[in-house]
Each structure stands twice: as C-alpha cells, then as structure tokens.
Symmetry: C2
C-alpha cells in the first residue's frame, strides 16, 4: 500500500454486536434492544451493539458492552466472527465483529433490562431485526449448540445452585430436542462435574429437588483436555 492510497483503505468503522444468551430456569432467551428511533431500520429491535473508536481496543469495548447489559463480571464471552457486508450500514463501511456471551438470567437482571427498554426474547421466537442481526443470531445459536455439546459452558447460564432438571431443560432448549431423564442424570453424574450442595429447592414441584453446584476444579481439567460431553 502506498502512502497516498491510505485514504482508500482507512475509512472503515468497527462495531461490536453481542448475542447475549440468558437462561431463566425454563428457557433460553436472547437480549434485544428497542431504542432504534431513526436510521435505516426505525423501530426494529437489534442486538446490543457499540461502535469502536479507531484507537480503542476491541476487548475492552466488548467487556464494557457486556457489563452495560448484564451488570455482571466474569461472564463467558467468545467471538463469533466478523460480519462485513458492504452495505450493512448507511453511515459507511462497518465491520461488525459479533460476540456471544452467556448469563444467568435472574430477577434482578430482568428488572434492569426492563428499565433500559430491552427485552429478553425467547430463543425460538426471535423477531425480524435490524441490519443482519438475524443472521448473526442464527450463527450464534449454532455455535452455542456445538459448545454446549463439547464443553460445560451450560453451567455459566445457571444460578450457582441448580437442580438437574434445570440443567436438563437448558440442554434441551439449546439443542432443541428432548432427552431421557435417566440417561441425562447418568451422564451428568458420571461426568463428576457437579456436586451436591446438601440444599434443596421446592419452588417448582411438590417433592423438593436436590440442588447441585458445579465443580470448578473438575471443569478446568476437562475444559483443557478437549472434553466430550456429547448429548
């Protein structure tokens, strides 16, 4: 590239979009913003996004974006890929780098999102979105499906203490199929990824259910050696 050509190249903007998966104990949901008043897609919901200033780091922007929408730290975040169709954005050429993250969807967060006029939409009922955000979500779902099969990232979506039924529901939503209760428990227990807490939950049934927590140490080992959690 010659110096005088720089202006042909250096006139692109970076944006970051976030597919935030939340699990409310019943189903997976994705966070959508509704604040588009004008622009090319007025009124259309869209993924939480931010433009990145040319001199700023991407990762710090992603972190900020995640915190802004979750109020939580230590969230699982991973890049999906760059989406960079030419006419995505009427402001000019924008490279949109898409990330996904997983979060425990508790009442506090639901309340917070509501105040911000953001909505946790059911995984299976995503409406038409602005830009190419539907495509990004489809891509994110596929990634989640694969990840959930091979690594125990599902645990990031659950509260600290959870029942095996909740865990199973999470897997069923993510993988979009039903599973056998006994086989599921067998596999999870064999994996030794969860340990009993001694506590019980009786909010969702007559008989109370054992609460488990996730064995972090075991998880670290299994994550490293390319773990197989094949459902």
């Amino acid at each position: 590239m010659l110096p005088e050509e720089k202006e042909i190249y250096f006139k692109v903007a970076i944006s970051v979009s976030l597919v935030l998966f939340g699990f409310d104990g019943e189903m997976l949901r994705i966070l959508l913003s509704n604040d588009t008043k004008k622009g090319p897609f007025p009124g259309a919901p869209h993924l939480p996004s931010v433009y990145v200033k040319a001199h700023e780091g991407i990762d710090s922007n992603v972190e900020k974006l995640v915190f802004l929408h979750t109020q939580k730290d230590h969230i699982f975040v991973e890049q999906l890929k760059a989406f960079a169709k030419v006419f995505n954005n009427p402001l000019g050429r924008v490279v949109n780098i898409a990330y996904y993250a997983t979060v425990k969807l508790d009442d506090e967060l639901l309340q917070y999102s509501k105040e911000r006029d953001e909505e946790w939409v059911a995984y299976s009922k995503i409406p038409d979105l602005a830009f190419d955000h539907n495509e990004i979500i489809d891509y994110a779902k596929e990634r989640l499906k694969r990840r959930v099969k091979r690594r125990p990232i599902g645990f990031y979506l659950l509260p600290k203490h959870f029942t095996i039924s909740q865990l199973q529901k999470l897997y069923e939503t993510a993988l979009n199929r039903e599973m056998d209760k006994r086989n599921f428990r067998k596999k999870i227990v064999n994996s030794q990824l969860i340990v009993e807490t001694g506590l019980t939950d009786n909010s969702s049934s007559r008989k109370s259910a054992k609460l488990y927590k996730f064995d972090e140490e075991k998880y670290q080992k299994l994550s490293l050696k390319g773990y197989d959690f094949l459902f």
Copy 2:
C-alpha cells in the same frame, strides 16, 4: 454516533489473511510469503494477506487471494475470526479478518509457489512470523483439528484419487497423534464416504495400494446432518 464524530470511527482498514493448508501426501504444510522487505517486520515471513478497499466486498477479496496463491477454484474456505489488536499494524488501525483454506498440494502448485518466492512450511515447524500471524496459525490449527474430526473436510486436501494410508497420514498430522491402521480403515470404510476407483498406486511401496475416491453425494448428505467422524 453524531455526524461530526464520524472521523473518530471511520478510520480503520480491513485486511484479510489466509492460512492455507496443503497436504503433500506426507504431511500438512502452510503457505508463507517472504516478500517483506521493509516495514515493522523486515524479512519476517507472513501469511498471504491483502488490504481490502473500503468499498469492496470481503468475500470477493478472499476469493481473489485464494486464487492468487493456489491457481485453483472451488477451494474450501472458511472465516476463522477477526484479529484486531490496536497496534498490530503501524500504518494505522487494521482489522485483520483471518480465513483458512485447504488445498491439494501437487507438484504444479509447489512449482508455482516457488516462483512466487513463497514457501510451504511444515505444519509442525512454523517459524516466527510478522504481526500476530503465529497466533492466527495456532487458532487455525485448532479449527482444522475440530473440523477434521466432525466433517470430512480432509478430503479437500487430497488428490482426486488417494490411498487409505495417505488419508490416515493426513488425519495423523492434523490431529497430531498416531492411529491404528485397522481401526482407521474400519471406520473409513463403514462411513461409506470413499469408493474404490479400481486403480492402484505403486509409487510409495512395493506392494501396490488401492486408490479410492471420495463419494461426493454421500458427503453432501453427511455434511448437512452434522456428521460425526470422531477420531
């Protein structure tokens, strides 16, 4: 973003880098360019790359880049992810979108690359590269490992007709471990992904080996339904 802020954002360039995997019948190799005479990494080899003009499509640039370095069409190409550390490139902020592709490494291509002062370096002996290209290659290797396990993309790396031993060597290099001959053959034959051609190869051994080809129709079916080729 306000109109007057546009200049804070729209001053980034896009580049595309390519991790080109080639298999020569013995081992996997990656193509590196050596033409860096000046700049921040003088003399350091680097991945084949190109800057993308702000108004151009990414995909067409990737296609062109692949063709430029392989002289072949219908190559398997997939995006890895965007690499966008702030000070990657002294010209200014550059978002480098990395792709990988797989190609049959025949004599013709070896000759062509040689003329272009490019080198097919052994998969396990990658030198220090310019920019963050080593990081990109590590990422690409991991992706190849996963892909090769789940989808028959290995076939894109082989000549039209190949022996089972060649196929096994390819898997062994990609996955970096040895495999049992009998179990390998059993699995491959059971998969019904390859068919005998009736031809034989006697270049690499005393006893001649059967040449197989890859059953495209079967492949299409298996690729769609999220195939498991677990080695």
